[in-house]
Symmetry: C2
Subunit: 154 residues, 2 copies
């Protein structure tokens, strides 16, 4: 059976996971560059979500590398369902984190401009933007895996 | 063919849409009770999203009422796909609006407590909570319609 490009174990999925890993780690680093980010709950939440995204992406990058380079991993409905569920949950978490951080930064800028000195708010904005891009990639992965799951039954 | 409970044109879907309509309109009213909400972009965004949710819910409540009481509407793949796409898009918009508003309110409370006088922030929090519940209901609708779309091909 031909595999859906972008589904678990393909080279497109590998590329997607590499981008996810890059975006999420840059987002976390950008947030952690400001030592006071843990004073605001929203920023802490985004950092925790990005840490989970990094773990998930590393796991999938390894699985995809193994599948592409060494031995093609089988696409079982149970495995695809778990990957799909993880992608959907993490996409919601990324979106909520990104929106929360973007909104909190906008509030900081409008109310307390001096607090945004030393390019603090730009770091938060970059972090939120990258989390938003992670959400878009998760959505792509979820759609490809759903399509693959559907095609398994046909 | 038996219909999936909760999918387009069933009584469970009607109940879901009624709750959506209730939550979204209460969220919009709670936001508009504060005259200054339009000073903050995030709150304006949530109000606009809730207005769209109200329109979508009214449309579906009417369609479901017609389908349940008068004449069962056919579940065509094209109709179900449009309903599913609308539900997914609005679920993302509701979640982003809810997270943004919740985060902005938290920021207001932590930085500028006096601005939250006259129970302003409680109104914002109620609005965000109801938008969050709308997201949960949209997710339910989307899952039921996806299931129904899947069962149409089997």
């Amino acid at each position: 059976m031909e595999r859906v490009p972008g589904s678990f174990g393909t080279s497109v999925s590998f590329a997607l996971r590499i981008f996810q890993l890059g975006f999420s780690s840059t987002s976390l680093i950008s947030m952690c560059l400001d030592y006071d980010f843990n004073e605001v709950t929203t920023f802490c939440y985004l950092a925790v979500v990005m840490a989970y995204v990094i773990l998930w992406s590393i796991l999938h990058t390894l699985a995809d590398t193994y599948s592409v380079l060494l031995k093609q991993l089988p696409q079982k409905p149970r495995v695809l369902s778990i990957v799909l569920a993880g992608d959907v949950v993490l996409s919601f978490l990324s979106l909520s984190g990104a929106c929360g951080a973007a909104s909190a930064t906008e509030m900081l800028l409008s109310i307390d401009e001096p607090m945004c000195g030393d390019k603090r708010c730009i770091k938060y904005q970059v972090s939120a933007l990258l989390a938003f891009l992670c959400w878009a990639l998760f959505l792509d992965s979820a759609i490809f895996n759903l399509w693959s799951l559907y095609s398994l039954f046909h």
